[in-house]
């Protein structure tokens, strides 16, 4: 038997508005852009819900009812759930319904989709717990498998998750790290007791998430028949298909046929008696560990480098990260809920990604996915907002 293990990431940051130097000390609102552009968080939540979350989840709900053997898993950032609750309750309601089928697992992560693990162990723990509480309140379930922001992973993260009782943890299945090992098996992270490691099969995942609509791709168009055949031929116990949920309808638009593909995948797979669907927890329970994996350096699912350089690669990004975590002590001393909340919203990884300049080289800006005109504009808005927050912290003490 071989299993398909889906994990979909649902995340939306609170984007910082065009916050100018002149606003410092005068405007304590950083995330309330009311324009028609890409910084209006409400508009974006509504748009993504309409284009992706609602149609994809309605379809998924239908499929889960039609195919009782179908399984998927989700990880929702806390701030995505917050925004859906406020701006797109219909989408959140659909998510609740799919989780209620019992065929869907919800994973654990940081509430603020932050890189706090690498900057503040205490803050990291607080954010994971806050996320767990939210998932419990909204979905009534308790996360048993953990995934960190941008699928960032390291031995010590697995050791932490092991110590906190998680059954599993997810990471990128990157060949240079795996060597001869296939991502299609269950592994044990180095120096852990009970936790299991599941690795993303990035080739099959990216066939759907990135290449699906690419006409330059020799395999275009991707049909469920073709994909089912590939999965059938693949060796291993589990094919881990990890991707952003926005793949359905937002990254790949409806007219690419992505919903059609999703709709017919379970039916196609049911033709092959050797393939089933499993959640990460079920995969861990079903298949035995094949080997131990040692990942001492940070691995992520980002771009071709598979490291954190998209978030920490240039001096601006490092300065911004240092600056936000330098406020930690002051924030706790100020003991003000509003300040704490704003500070945490400024930790979301997307802010630092928008400052990335490595895709901005060679005059090729097509890879620069950002609501800002340039990494420099992103940095200016962020640092100005952070300067205001610092003033507020100083005043509160």
């Amino acid at each position: 038997m071989k299993s398909i293990c889906f994990y979909f990431q649902v995340h939306q940051p609170y984007r910082v508005k065009k916050y100018r130097v002149f606003d410092i000390g005068n405007d304590p609102e950083y995330f309330n852009d009311r324009g028609t552009g890409k910084l209006n968080n409400r508009l974006i939540a509504e748009k993504v819900a309409a284009k992706s979350y609602i149609p994809a989840t309605a379809l998924l709900l239908k499929l889960l009812k039609k195919y009782p053997q179908l399984r998927v898993s989700f990880s929702f950032s806390g701030i995505a759930l917050e925004q859906l609750e406020r701006y797109a309750p219909e989408a959140l309601d659909l998510f609740k319904q799919v989780v209620d089928t019992g065929q869907v697992e919800v994973l654990g992560e940081t509430y603020y989709h932050s890189l706090s693990f690498f900057y503040s162990p205490l803050e990291f723990e607080i954010q994971v717990n806050k996320h767990r509480d939210l998932v419990r309140r909204i979905f009534g379930v308790w996360p048993r498998v953990f995934r960190n922001t941008e699928l960032s992973y390291r031995n010590d993260l697995a050791q932490w998750a092991d110590s906190r009782g998680y059954a599993g943890i997810l990471a990128e299945g990157w060949d240079p790290i795996l060597g001869w090992r296939s991502p299609n098996y269950v592994y044990q992270p180095k120096d852990t007791q009970n936790i299991r490691l599941l690795l993303k099969n990035y080739r099959f995942s990216d066939d759907i998430a990135f290449r699906f609509s690419s006409r330059e791709w020799t395999e275009w168009p991707l049909t469920t028949g073709k994909f089912g055949q590939w999965i059938g031929e693949a060796e291993g116990d589990t094919i881990n298909l990890f991707m952003d949920y926005e793949t359905f309808g937002e990254h790949q638009w409806e007219d690419t046929g992505i919903f059609h593909f999703l709709e017919h995948l379970p039916e196609e797979m049911s033709k092959n008696p050797g393939i089933d669907f499993k959640t990460p927890s079920e995969v861990i329970q079903t298949y035995r560990v094949r080997d131990q994996v040692d990942i001492p350096h940070t691995l992520t699912w980002a771009d071709t480098d598979r490291d954190l350089t998209a978030w920490t690669g240039n001096p601006m990004q490092r300065a911004a990260l240092d600056a936000v975590y330098a406020l930690e002590q002051g924030i706790h001393m100020a003991n003000d809920g509003r300040l704490l909340e704003d500070w945490r919203k400024l930790q979301t990884s997307d802010h630092f990604y928008y400052m990335c300049t490595k895709w901005f080289a060679d005059g090729d800006v097509h890879q620069y996915f950002s609501p800002y005109e340039s990494p420099y504009d992103a940095y200016i808005a962020y640092m100005n907002a952070l300067s205001d927050l610092r003033l507020r912290v100083e005043k509160a003490r």
């Binding site: 100018r20 130097v21 240039n314 001096p315 300065a319 300049t357 005059g363 340039s374 420099y376 940095y379």
Partner: protein, 409 residues
């Protein structure tokens, strides 16, 4: 190739472009005969110069003065003004009574030169040499390529005040050309909408920069050092002080910056018809002590200004290309450029703002001054950006157009 100015006898980007382009073309094996309207002491190893003023025996002319009188950025009316002020007196009888006469005289000589020389394609830079290009074409029947570095609409900062004679020459020159080269998409759009030139006839070739054209110097003795030691940041404007370049927006942004941070010095380098007006404006806004006028800078002075600046600003109202930001970036100086510029189409590692948005410009200036990592990242990446935009890249595209024209015959 018909031109109008060539370094060191140039007053702006047109001459720089001719220098960079001819050298890069020569490196590709293209032989360029560069025609100038008058005899100048010019010699570069890669190009042969021909002068359209009968040539020999005229070396004793005061070149600086003559050059000033023939600056391509003068409008016909300001040329009259120059003459009235007696600034072109030394030119004597060599020059016509106005810029237009000089353009016509150049054109009249062009046919004779063209008949004497051996070449395949005629190439003319801007309206001042378009008539010469057209005459050469009439005399020889050889194909003409028009390279547009600026249009009358850019020089006037809009449609108000456009000189009809200049417009007519620009239009006729482009109509007579087999192909037109525009220095940016912005210029291409102007050529299509204002001059009715067919899109398929226009190729965009962005300008470049390399060691031939970049300002050179050593950074040992910067005169602004003391000021910077005292904690001041330096923000630089370098260009003609004319409507097109947006000097007034620079000053209004400076005013806004100084309200928040008095430790910033604004340098305004260049000369032009708005210089006096800008001094008055600075005084009126009460920022005269933080706004220094340096006059027109050349050579090492120019290098020093770039190197000392923490930020270079080009707030042009309408800039067909804009080479100066590339000069600054090459020296590791961060730049803030107006979105209404051709250079903003090819430069990624720069701050950009609408020329009229002085509030945003002030925000960006204060950020560069206040966040050292912003400055450093812009500096490092900007230098790489400028290194990528070479003249050989531009020459390759020009070469392609030249070959297409030759093979179309």
């Amino acid at each position: 190739m018909f031109g109008w100015e060539f370094p060191p006898f140039n007053s702006g980007g047109l001459g720089v472009a001719c220098l960079g382009l001819t050298r890069a073309l020569a490196e590709r094996g293209v032989e360029v005969i560069f025609v100038m309207p008058k005899k100048l002491d010019l010699a570069v190893p890669w190009t042969r110069f021909v002068f359209a003023d009968g040539g020999d025996g005229l070396e004793s002319i005061d070149m600086r003065v003559i050059n000033a009188a023939l600056t391509p950025y003068l409008t016909p009316s300001s040329y009259d003004e120059y003459r009235r002020q007696g600034m072109a007196m030394a030119a004597g009888s060599l020059y016509g009574p106005d810029l237009m006469s000089e353009v016509k005289r150049y054109a009249a000589m062009a046919a004779a030169i063209a008949l004497k020389e051996d070449f395949d394609v005629i190439y003319a830079h801007d309206w001042l040499s378009f008539e010469a290009g057209m005459e050469a074409k009439r005399a020889t029947g050889k194909p003409l390529i028009a390279h547009v570095h600026a249009t009358e609409f850019d020089r006037c900062g809009g449609s108000w005040g456009v000189n009809n004679d200049v417009y007519a020459i620009e239009r006729a020159g482009m109509d007579a050309s087999h192909r037109v080269i525009a220095v940016s998409e912005l210029t291409k759009a102007i050529l299509m909408t204002r001059y009715g030139i067919a899109e398929e006839k226009i190729s965009v070739v962005h300008n470049g920069i390399d060691e031939t054209t970049a300002p050179q110097g050593d950074s040992t003795l910067l005169r602004l050092h003391t000021l910077k030691q005292a904690g001041y940041s330096v923000v630089l404007f370098l260009g003609r002080i004319t409507l097109q370049k947006g000097p007034d927006y620079f000053i209004r942004a400076a005013k806004r910056v100084l309200e928040h941070n008095p430790k910033v010095i604004f340098l305004m380098s260049g000369s032009g018809d708005m210089e006096r007006q800008m001094m008055d404006l600075a005084a009126q806004l009460g920022i005269a002590s933080n706004l220094l006028f340096t006059g027109f800078l050349q050579g090492h002075d120019r290098y020093e200004a770039y190197a000392a600046a923490d930020l270079f600003i080009m707030p042009s109202v309408s800039e067909p290309f804009g080479i100066t930001p590339l000069e600054a970036m090459r020296l590791g100086t961060p730049v803030l450029i107006s979105k209404q510029s051709g250079v903003s189409e090819v430069v990624s590692h720069a701050l950009k703002a609408d020329f009229w948005d002085t509030e945003e410009m002030a925000n960006q200036i204060l950020s560069v001054v206040g966040y050292p990592h912003l400055k450093n990242t812009l500096s490092e990446n900007g230098a790489k950006d400028a290194a990528r935009l070479t003249w050989s890249r531009a020459a390759e595209k020009v070469d392609t157009v030249v070959h297409e024209v030759m093979h179309a015959l």
